[in-house]
C-alpha cells in the first residue's frame, strides 16, 4: 500500500467531495473552508501534481472561459486506484484511531 502525505490525502478527499467540479479554485476553497486556514495556490498544486504522477487522479480540460481570461480549467477526477487507496487508508486509520477519546480525560 502506498502512503500519502497529509496534504495529499486532504486534497484527494476534497476532489472526491467536489465530485465533478474539482479544479484548482474550488479545491482550494473547499479545503480552506473545512480547515479554516489560508491555503495558497501553490500549496494545492504541488500535491495535485504529485497525485497525478502517482496515477491517483486523472485530469481533463474544460472549455476556455471568459471569466478566467480566456483560459480553460483543468478538472480533476479520482481514478479507481485513487478510490481504492482512499478506502485502504480509511481502513488503516480506523484501526489506528480506534478507542481514541473524543474529549481529553483530565
Amino acid at each position: 500500500m502506498k502512503f500519502l502525505s497529509r496534504q495529499e490525502e486532504i486534497v484527494l478527499l476534497s476532489i472526491w467531495h467536489l465530485k465533478g467540479n474539482a479544479y484548482g479554485v474550488t479545491i482550494r476553497e473547499h479545503i480552506s473552508e473545512l480547515t479554516g486556514k489560508y491555503w495558497s495556490i501553490g500549496a494545492i498544486y504541488v500535491p495535485l501534481d504529485r497525485l497525478w504522477e502517482k496515477g491517483l487522479v486523472e485530469t481533463y480540460q474544460g472549455p476556455a472561459e471568459k471569466k478566467r481570461g480566456g483560459r480553460s480549467k483543468r478538472y480533476y477526477q479520482i481514478t479507481p486506484e485513487g478510490m481504492k487507496l482512499l478506502q485502504e487508508i480509511k481502513q488503516v486509520q480506523k484501526v489506528f484511531w480506534k478507542g481514541f477519546p473524543k474529549v481529553m480525560a483530565e
Partner: protein, 861 residues
C-alpha cells in the same frame, strides 16, 4: 494602467506566466484570474489587484531559486570543465583562439571599411531627399551618361518644379589664383555654388549668415582647414581675398571641413554669379555644362522630378538633340555613381568583394574550430556520456557547447579588437581612409562586432554542439570509442572547403596583382618615363611661349610642348564632328584636345601618316587637325589625310594621323580623338616637358630657375606622368595590397588549423606509429603516410576553387577594356602551392611523432 477587460493587471499577468512552470502555465493563470474576478466582485478593484500583485511577488523567490540557482551551479561546472579542457590541450586551444582572433580581426577591419563606404553622405540632415541631376545625351547608337546639366537648370527647377525645395549649381571651374595680403597662391579646390547650397546641405557655417553668405557676387566661403592655413588663428570673416589680381572677394563665412565620407569635397566656394558674370564666359543656352544638386520636398518622387526636368529642357534643345535627365539620390552616389577618372565607378562592387574576402577568412577560422572540436570529441565523449546519465538532456549539452564557443569567440574578439586598433593606422594608409580609434566604439561597429560574434559562434559551434550532444551514453561508457570519434569524412570535407577558399583567394590575388602591374606597365602608345607636366594656371598660360623659349635652351631637355589636359588623361571634352562623306543622319561626338607645336615628338607618339603641326605652316594652325587611327577609321576613307573635317566650328583638313595611344585609363577602349592647335592660351592646361637622358635633378633645377626668371611671383609646380599613373589605379593597387594581406592571413589560418589537426592525429596514432617503427617502417615512410592526405585534400580543393576563381576574376577583369587574363599556370601554381603548404604543415608535425622512440611510446600504459 490600461486594460482591455476586467481581468487582472496585464504586466502582473505576464510576470506570473513567466514564473509558472510550463506544464501548469495556462491552468494556474486561469485559476488566478478566476480568484481575481471573484475578489473584484466582492471587495473591489484595489483589493483584487493588490492580491494579484501579492501573488506575483510571492512566487518570485521560488522562480529565482529554480531558474538562476541551478543554472549558476551548472554554469560554474561548465566553466571549470572548459578551463580544464583548455589547459589540457593548450596547443589546440591556442590555435583555435588565435585563428578565430585573426579571422575576426580581418572581419572587423573589413567591416570598418564597409561601414565607412556605406555611410557616405548620410551626415546631411535630410540626406535621403538630396539628389544630383545627371544627364543622358543620346547620339546615333550611343548614350553618354554624365553629370553635366544646363547652366540655367537649377534656377528653373526651383521656380517651375513644385517638388523641388532647393536647387543649386555646384561646379569646379579650374581653380583660382588668390592673394591674401602679400601671399599669392593657387587653389584648385574652388567651387562655384548658388545661395541655396548652404540651405540644402548640412555643412556647418561659422561666423556667417547662411541666408546671405553667397548672395553678393564678390564673396567667398573658405573651409576651416584653409582658414587655419592662411589666416593662422585670426578670424577670416570680413577679410578680403584678392582673386586673379583683379577682384576683391570678402570672406562671408567659414565652412566646417567636409567630412571624409562626403562626396562633395571643396575648400573654397564662390558664388556662381561671380564666375558667370566676371570670371569666365559660360557656354550659352542649355548646354550640359555644370553639376546641379537639389533637395526635394518630403515625399517627392525622383522619377517624377526627372520627368519634369526633361520637359523643362526640351524646348531649349536644338533639332536632333535628345537629352534626358535623372535624379540620383546623393546617398547612393558614392556606391553606384562615383565620378572618378571621368567615368562612373561602382564602389559597391568593391564592397561586395571585400565582404566576401572577410567572410572567407572568418569561415576558414570557424572551420578550424569545428574540426578541432569534433576531432577532440573522443576525449569529451565520457564527459558527455556521464552528463547524459545524470540527467542532462540534449538541450543542456547543446547550450553547453555553444557556451564554450561563445567564451572562446568573445576572448578572440577582445584580441581581434586589440589587433584592429594596432593595425588601423596602416590600414588607413593603404585604404586612404581616415578611420580613428573612435570608430571601434561607434554604434555601427558595435553592431558589426555583435554580428561577427554571433555568426562565428553559429558557424563554428553548431556542428560540435549538434554532433557532440547526439552521442549515445551507453556506447561511450561501455568504452566503445569508435562510436564517439567524429566523422572523419566531414572533417575532410571541411578541410577541402578551407583550402578551396584559400586557393580562390590566391588566384584572385595573382589576378589582381597581374592586372595592376599590367595597368602600370602596359604599352600605352607613348613613352611615359621622364615625362613631366607643369600646370599652367590662370594667367600663367599667357607666358607659355616665353617659358618654352627658356626651357628649350636648357641642357637635358628633350622637348617642350603644351596641351589642354594630360596625355594620359585627355578628358572627355567632346563636340559634334562632321566630315566629308559622313551620313548626315548620324550625330557623332568626338573627344578632342588642344595641343601646341612639337606635341607628337615630345609626348613620343608615332605618326601613322602625315605630319605634326609646325610653325612653318601657319595656315594649319587655323585649319589643321591631327587625328588618331580610330578617328581615321571613322572617317573611313582609304587615306584619311586631306579629308575635310569640322569640329568646334573650325573647318579644316586632317594633316596627320597618329597611332592609337591610351589617352584614357585602360579600363576604357581607345575612342576616336581629334587634336587641334590651341586657339588661345586659355585652352592650355599643362606644359609637357620631356627630360633628356642625363641628370634628372639638374634638369629639374634648370626648369625651376627658368620658370622663376620668366614668372617671378608664381610658384613652379610639376609632377611626373608616372606618378599620375600610380594615382590613377589607386583602387586596383589598394585592392592588390589588401588582397595580399588577407590571403596570406587566410592561408596562415588554414595552415594553423591543419597543424592542430595533424598534431592531434599524430597524438592519436602514437601507438600505431610505434608499432610500425618496430616492424621496420622508416621515418620517411611514416611522415609521408601521415601527411599525404593533407596534401591530397588541398589538391582536391582545386576542383571547386578553379571554376569559382575563373568566374570571379573574369567578372572583375571584364571592367577593363584592356586586361591580362591569368593563364592556367596561375591556377595550377595556386593549387600546387596550397598542396605543398598543406603537406609541409602536416609533415612537420608528423615528423615529430615519427621520430619518437617506439620504446617510449609503446610503454605509456
Amino acid at each position: 494602467m490600461r486594460r482591455a477587460t476586467d481581468g487582472p493587471p496585464r504586466l502582473a499577468q505576464r510576470l506570473l506566466q513567466r514564473f509558472c512552470g510550463p506544464r501548469n502555465r495556462p491552468i494556474i493563470a486561469g485559476d488566478f484570474a478566476e480568484i481575481h474576478g471573484d475578489l473584484l466582485e466582492r471587495r473591489g478593484r484595489t483589493v483584487a489587484d493588490l492580491w494579484y500583485w501579492g501573488q506575483v511577488i510571492k512566487s518570485f523567490p521560488a522562480f529565482v531559486r529554480n531558474a538562476f540557482f541551478w543554472s549558476l551551479v551548472m554554469f560554474r561546472n561548465y566553466l571549470i570543465v572548459f578551463g580544464r579542457n583548455f589547459s589540457r590541450h593548450r596547443l589546440v586551444s591556442l590555435i583555435n583562439l588565435g585563428g578565430l582572433a585573426l579571422g575576426m580581426g580581418c572581419c572587423l577591419l573589413i567591416s570598418l571599411w564597409v561601414l565607412d563606404e556605406l555611410g557616405y553622405d548620410r551626415f546631411h540632415a535630410s540626406a535621403e531627399r538630396l539628389v544630383r541631376i545627371e544627364s543622358d545625351e543620346s547620339y546615333s547608337g550611343t548614350v553618354r551618361h554624365g553629370i553635366g546639366t544646363p547652366i540655367p537648370l537649377a534656377a528653373a527647377m526651383e521656380k517651375e518644379i513644385p517638388e523641388v525645395e532647393y536647387a543649386t549649381r555646384f561646379s569646379r571651374f579650374g581653380g583660382l589664383q588668390l592673394a591674401i595680403g602679400e601671399t599669392s597662391f593657387f587653389e584648385e579646390s574652388v567651387f562655384a555654388a548658388d545661395p541655396s547650397f548652404l540651405g540644402m546641405f548640412s555643412f556647418p557655417l561659422f561666423g556667417g549668415n547662411p541666408e546671405t553668405a553667397l548672395s553678393s557676387p564678390l564673396s567667398i566661403l573658405i573651409t576651416k582647414r584653409m582658414a587655419e592655413k592662411y589666416f593662422a588663428g585670426a578670424d577670416p570673416v570680413g577679410k578680403t581675398i584678392r582673386a586673379e589680381n583683379r577682384f576683391d572677394l570678402t570672406v562671408t563665412g567659414v565652412l566646417g571641413n567636409p567630412p571624409a565620407n562626403s562626396t562633395l569635397q571643396f575648400d573654397w566656394i564662390v558664388p556662381f554669379v561671380f564666375v558667370e558674370s566676371r570670371l569666365q564666359r559660360m557656354p550659352e543656352g542649355w548646354v550640359n555644362a555644370v553639376s546641379t544638386y537639389a533637395r526635394l520636398r518630403p515625399g517627392a518622387s525622383s522619377a517624377i522630378v526627372a520627368g519634369k526636368i526633361d520637359a523643362l529642357v526640351r524646348p531649349h534643345l536644338g533639332p536632333g538633340e535628345k537629352n534626358t535627365y535623372s535624379a540620383m539620390p546623393l546617398t547612393r552616389l558614392h556606391l553606384f555613381f562615383q565620378t572618378g577618372r571621368g567615368l562612373l565607378e561602382r564602389a559597391v562592387d568593391y564592397v561586395y568583394v571585400y565582404s566576401l574576402i572577410g567572410l572567407f577568412v572568418l569561415l576558414i577560422a570557424c572551420i578550424n574550430f569545428t574540426n578541432l572540436s569534433t576531432a577532440r570529441s573522443a576525449e569529451r565523449a565520457r564527459e558527455i556520456g556521464l552528463r547524459k546519465v545524470v540527467g542532462a538532456n540534449r538541450g543542456n549539452l547543446i547550450r553547453q557547447f555553444y557556451g564554450e564557443a561563445l567564451i572562446i569567440v568573445t576572448a578572440a574578439l577582445a584580441i581581434a579588437v586589440g589587433m584592429t586598433a594596432l593595425l588601423l593606422p596602416s590600414f588607413n594608409a593603404v585604404t586612404r581612409k581616415q578611420l580613428s580609434w573612435g570608430v571601434l566604439a561607434a554604434p555601427g561597429t558595435l553592431a558589426a562586432m555583435a554580428g561577427i560574434v554571433l555568426l562565428t559562434v553559429l558557424l563554428s559551434g553548431s556542428y560540435p554542439a549538434v554532433f557532440l550532444s547526439r552521442l549515445r551514453p551507453a556506447g561511450i561508457l561501455r568504452g566503445n570509442r569508435g562510436a564517439g570519434f567524429g566523422k572523419a569524412s566531414f572533417r575532410k570535407a571541411l578541410v577541402v572547403a578551407q583550402f578551396a577558399m584559400s586557393i580562390l583567394l590566391l588566384i584572385g590575388t595573382f589576378a589582381v596583382l597581374g592586372q595592376t602591374r599590367f595597368l602600370q606597365t602596359a604599352d600605352i602608345g607613348f613613352d611615359r618615363d621622364r615625362l613631366i607636366l607643369l600646370p599652367l594656371r590662370g594667367d600663367v598660360a599667357k607666358s607659355f611661349e616665353a617659358l618654352k623659349t627658356e626651357f628649350s635652351r636648357l641642357p637635358g631637355i628633350g622637348g617642350v610642348t603644351a596641351m589642354s589636359r594630360r596625355p594620359n588623361m585627355i578628358g572627355d571634352f567632346a563636340d559634334d564632328a562632321d566630315w566629308e562623306g559622313k551620313d548626315p543622319g548620324r550625330r557623332i561626338r568626338v573627344v578632342f584636345a588642344s595641343v601646341e607645336y612639337d606635341f607628337v615628338e615630345t609626348v613620343g607618339l608615332k605618326l601613322a601618316a602625315g605630319r605634326d603641326f609646325s610653325p612653318d605652316r601657319p595656315a594649319e594652325r587655323e585649319s589643321g587637325f591631327l587625328v588618331n587611327e580610330e578617328m581615321a577609321r571613322l572617317v573611313d576613307r582609304p587615306n584619311a589625310l586631306g579629308a575635310r573635317l569640322s569640329l568646334l566650328g573650325r573647318q579644316g583638313t586632317i594633316i596627320g594621323v597618329v597611332k592609337n595611344f591610351h589617352f584614357q585609363p585602360l579600363d576604357q577602349k581607345i575612342e576616336p580623338l581629334v587634336l587641334l592647335p590651341a586657339p588661345n592660351a586659355n585652352w592650355l592646361g599643362n606644359i609637357v616637358v620631356r627630360l633628356g637622358p642625363g641628370d634628372q635633378g639638374a634638369a629639374l633645377a634648370g626648369l625651376k630657375d627658368a620658370w622663376k626668371r620668366v614668372l617671378p611671383g608664381y610658384p613652379c609646380e610639376y609632377f611626373f606622368v608616372n606618378e599620375d599613373f600610380a594615382r590613377f589605379y589607386q583602387r586596383e593597387n589598394q585592392m592588390g595590397r589588401l588582397l595580399k594581406f588577407f590571403t596570406a592571413l587566410a592561408v596562415a589560418i588554414a595552415c594553423l588549423g591543419l597543424f592542430g589537426l595533424a598534431s592531434f592525429i599524430a597524438e592519436q596514432r602514437t601507438k600505431e606509429i610505434g608499432i610500425r617503427k618496430v616492424l621496420g617502417a622508416s621515418v620517411t615512410n611514416i611522415v609521408f603516410d601521415l601527411s599525404k592526405e593533407s596534401g591530397l585534400l588541398a589538391l582536391a580543393a582545386c576542383l571547386p576553387a578553379w571554376p569559382a576563381a575563373y568566374l570571379l576574376t573574369r567578372a572583375w577583369l571584364n571592367g577593363f577594356a584592356y586586361r591580362t587574363n591569368p593563364g592556367w599556370p596561375v591556377f595550377v601554381l595556386a593549387g600546387l602551392a596550397a598542396g605543398a603548404i598543406a603537406f609541409a604543415t602536416a609533415g612537420w608535425q608528423s615528423l615529430k611523432a615519427a621520430r619518437a622512440n617506439p620504446a617510449e611510446t609503446l610503454k605509456y600504459e
